[in-house]
């Protein structure tokens, strides 16, 4: 169980830690190959879409985005002609198989008939036009991801037959690992090792052909505790593909990884292969830590910590910190609502027998207040928490989540066995740097 914190003066004002629905929706579209996006919006929303492409780390030479750049006359008079012209130009120049026509707040509120316009001009456009209203007021980043995922349904062909031992992977990008695609890669490779085919990723670097064939999968696996659950349920209803593994944490830390793998093994009947992976993985991880990380035992044991993350990372990490590193999770700060994973969180905390303070949809003010009033020794978070904790005099801050100040040239998973080591390497380095003297009296040595 948890102790949910309450805050004064936070009913109407938020210091947001996540973006709006537009960023989430276009963060889905950016994961599809051979599409382009026409944003029907004032030009500032283009920065939000650019951020969505950043999330997928799309090569700057391969982004295909155009914006109608709405101004006051467009808002008053309507901008259908402007949009039509831009769609035609984007079709001619980008030459993609599909164009998503995305309306944001301005277009959404004034009632631009994007759907009607797309339908009317489709005959003279080569690309398939998909309208998507994604006004920022329609919700937060995670709500936007659901909007974006729903926009993919027209591309998923209904299939009566299913390919045995095949899965789709849903919402890998709703993950605060700065190189989350490495987590996706770990999942893919691990499933392939045990003979399970990944039919489609919904979506990252996903082709329209792969989307078309997603209906052939015999199961769906959700790679986020923050978004995609509703889509998974709808896939179950529409395409008859069950959503599996949604009631256990993602594979963060040794125990969670074993649990996740065993659930896969149990569902697909590959228990023996899974046990081999677990045995090898645990041996490798512990062997490395014995050689290189022994000092963590006295350092981390009974260290009181705050975790500021999303549910995707935060739920699994809590067990890893508590059971495997013997830290004490005093405070869990979720920047996401954790609406579909709250039961999972409760079950996990009850199973561990701890009652940390918890904040859902935490904003910057609430994070700061929580840290100020807690007695934690260390914080797991992003660069945001790094600066907040620095101001509050908290000595150890582990900059492990997005947005990070850490330069990452190599992709590093946090899922799985090597993923645990990647995470702990970051923690160990931040720990070392935290204790290095900052104010050195150089005169004493001259």
């Amino acid at each position: 169980m948890y102790d949910e914190l309450k805050f004064d003066n936070c009913n109407h004002s938020k210091d947001p830690m996540v973006g709006c629905a537009l960023e989430g929706a276009t963060g889905v579209l950016a994961g599809i190959k051979d599409i382009s996006i026409v944003i029907h919006s004032p030009q500032g929303c283009s920065s939000t879409v650019s951020a969505a492409y950043d999330v997928h780390e799309i090569d700057f030479t391969k982004r295909k985005v155009a914006c109608t750049r709405l101004f006051e006359t467009d808002v008053v008079m309507g901008a259908s002609s402007k949009l039509k012209n831009l769609i035609e130009e984007a079709d001619s120049k980008f030459k993609t198989k599909a164009i998503f026509v995305v309306g944001t707040c301005a277009a959404d509120i004034i009632g631009e008939d994007i759907e009607g316009l797309c339908r009317n001009i489709q005959p003279q456009i080569n690309a398939k036009l998909i309208p998507l209203m994604a006004g920022g007021f329609r919700g937060n980043l995670y709500d936007g991801i659901e909007l974006g995922l729903n926009a993919l349904f027209p591309f998923i062909k209904k299939q009566k037959e299913k390919i045995p031992d095949s899965v789709n992977l849903i919402a890998p990008q709703a993950n605060l690992n700065p190189t989350w695609w490495a987590d996706l890669k770990w999942v893919r490779e691990t499933l392939e090792k045990v003979g399970i085919k990944v039919q489609a990723v919904l979506p990252h670097d996903t082709s329209l052909e792969e989307l078309d064939n997603a209906g052939l999968a015999s199961a769906n696996i959700l790679l986020s505790h923050d978004a995609g659950y509703k889509f998974g349920v709808k896939m179950q209803e529409v395409h008859g593909i069950p959503l599996i593994l949604s009631d256990i944490p993602l594979p963060i830390g040794l125990k969670n990884t074993a649990r996740w793998l065993r659930a896969v093994g149990n569902y697909f009947g590959v228990e023996e292969k899974v046990e081999a992976i677990i045995k090898d993985g645990e041996y490798m991880a512990i062997d490395v830590l014995r050689r290189r990380g022994l000092m963590m035992i006295p350092r981390y044991r009974n260290c009181r910590v705050a975790v500021s993350a999303d549910a995707t990372m935060g739920i699994g990490l809590t067990r890893m910190l508590f059971e495997e590193l013997e830290m004490i999770p005093e405070l869990l700060l979720f920047r996401s609502p954790v609406s579909d994973s709250q039961l999972l969180l409760e079950n996990e905390l009850n199973d561990m027998g701890i009652t940390p303070k918890v904040v859902f949809s935490a904003d910057g003010y609430q994070i700061k207040q929580s840290l100020m009033e807690s007695c934690v020794d260390a914080v797991f978070g992003s660069s945001w928490e790094y600066y907040l904790a620095e101001e509050l005099g908290i000595k150890f801050v582990f900059d492990v989540f997005s947005p990070t100040n850490r330069q990452n040239y190599l992709n590093r998973a946090y899922f799985g066995y090597e993923g645990m080591l990647n995470f702990l390497e970051n923690v160990a380095n931040d720990w070392e740097r935290a204790l290095r003297s900052k104010h050195i009296n150089w005169e004493e040595y001259s």
């Binding site: 109407h12 960023e23 004032p42 879409v49 090569d59 030479t61 391969k62 985005v65 707040c105 007021f137």
Partner: protein
Amino acid sequence: MVGIANESVVFFGHLSELYQLAKEGKIETKLQGSHTRPCKFWTAMKILSGIKNTVVIAHGPSGCAFGVKQAYKLTNCRNSGSPYESIITTNIDEKAIVYGGEKELKGAILEVDKKYKPDVIFVATSCATGIIGDYVDAIVNKIKPKINAEIMAIHCEGFAGEYRSGFDLVFRQIVQLMDKPDSESRSKLANSVNIVGGKMGPERTEIETDVKELRRLIESMGANVNAVIAGNCSLEEIKQAPSVAVNCTLCLDLGYAIGREMLDQFDTPLNSTILPYGISATERWLREAAKHLHMENEAEKLIKREYEAIRIEFEEAKKYLAGKMAIVEGHDAIKSLSIAHMLERDFGMRAVIYNFHPWSTQARETSIDYLLETGLDPEILITKGTLAFGKYEAMVQTENELMEYLGDLNPETTVYFGSSMSFPNIPVVDLNAILNRPRFGYRGALKVAKCICTALEYSFRPRSWVTKKMVFPEDSGLCSAQSLTPKLAQDLPDCTVYAGRERGKCMMS
């Protein structure tokens, strides 16, 4: 020039000619749909982010506040050691869109006043609340007696104006926070200036920046800087700002709006000159400031002293450069014009600005008018690539067009001033690179001279095939200018896109 009649040329001539054609509608000035700039909301927020102990309440969905927070506030933490600062959203949802967001805004103002205790609360409207017509001014006025902070509404819906309108709007509006000067306050600040046209927040601590150089020069003359508006200034500094001897523009384009407003309202003089790149521009900047400070003698001594400190190296460099041609990348209109001015006046080079988008003739009208009046009328070359819709080839095209124009030009007689992510076969000088700071003032003049000499000295080295391939991959697809953040960082004010997940996204700031 070689290839002057080439079919890819859209325009070749002087700035005044381009300006006239644009006014007459004879050249396309519209920005392509693939090219976006920050909207009015973003640029307004950039100025507001530079005022200390201020909370901005973005009245709208969370994305507008979140994006700006990532881009500006996080960058201030990272680069300048600022403490964490909030940007608040009223986070309106569909219900508020239908029924109005007044309740959310009232509640937010009261909450912010209690929990942050700011000097000023700015209520910034976004597209959503602008369109639905939330009565923001009435709410602000009605709630004023109930809170401790000063409060002001800023109507900066993203659709409500072009890129620079947000800058101008806020600069004009914050003048309303200022106190009318009296003889006592004028006397107190008789030896002070404001540097106007700043934005975003404090300067980096670990490197010499342009603002620091200007501050150093002012203080070396015996004067003081009351405030950099709005680069880390306080409400108190803003309030007393009109009492200074003179406002000095940091960026002519941005500083003019606030400077003009203060001149009109408070008779505060305005020293409005070109960006002080190089000695000629710096001298003008200093002399205009000194006139109002009544420190003409001190200024002349300073000018002499400062020039003497760099004279030997500078004049040596000048010999090396006189008569050579400079190709100046035109993505940032004001910088390219300022650099052209410096290269002509200080180094005796012939400057040609390459691919200056005609849109800039309208977006930067104030500055262009001024520069033409001063007699600066550089040559402008525009090729089709500049006006192409978002194809990646637009970038390759402009690069290839540049190569074509350079033709057989001798690398020893031509220098390219632009991004290091251009790869012409002549020496490249990237004045925007972080190690090449400051650029203003005398130290800046010397720095520029050294950069140019270094580029020429190592012009024998071919450009790295590694970095060239990073920018121009063989299998590149299409892209829009918005995506070309690394290359076009100069085209966007410092860090106006998301700070992103990695430090490198802010490498130009």
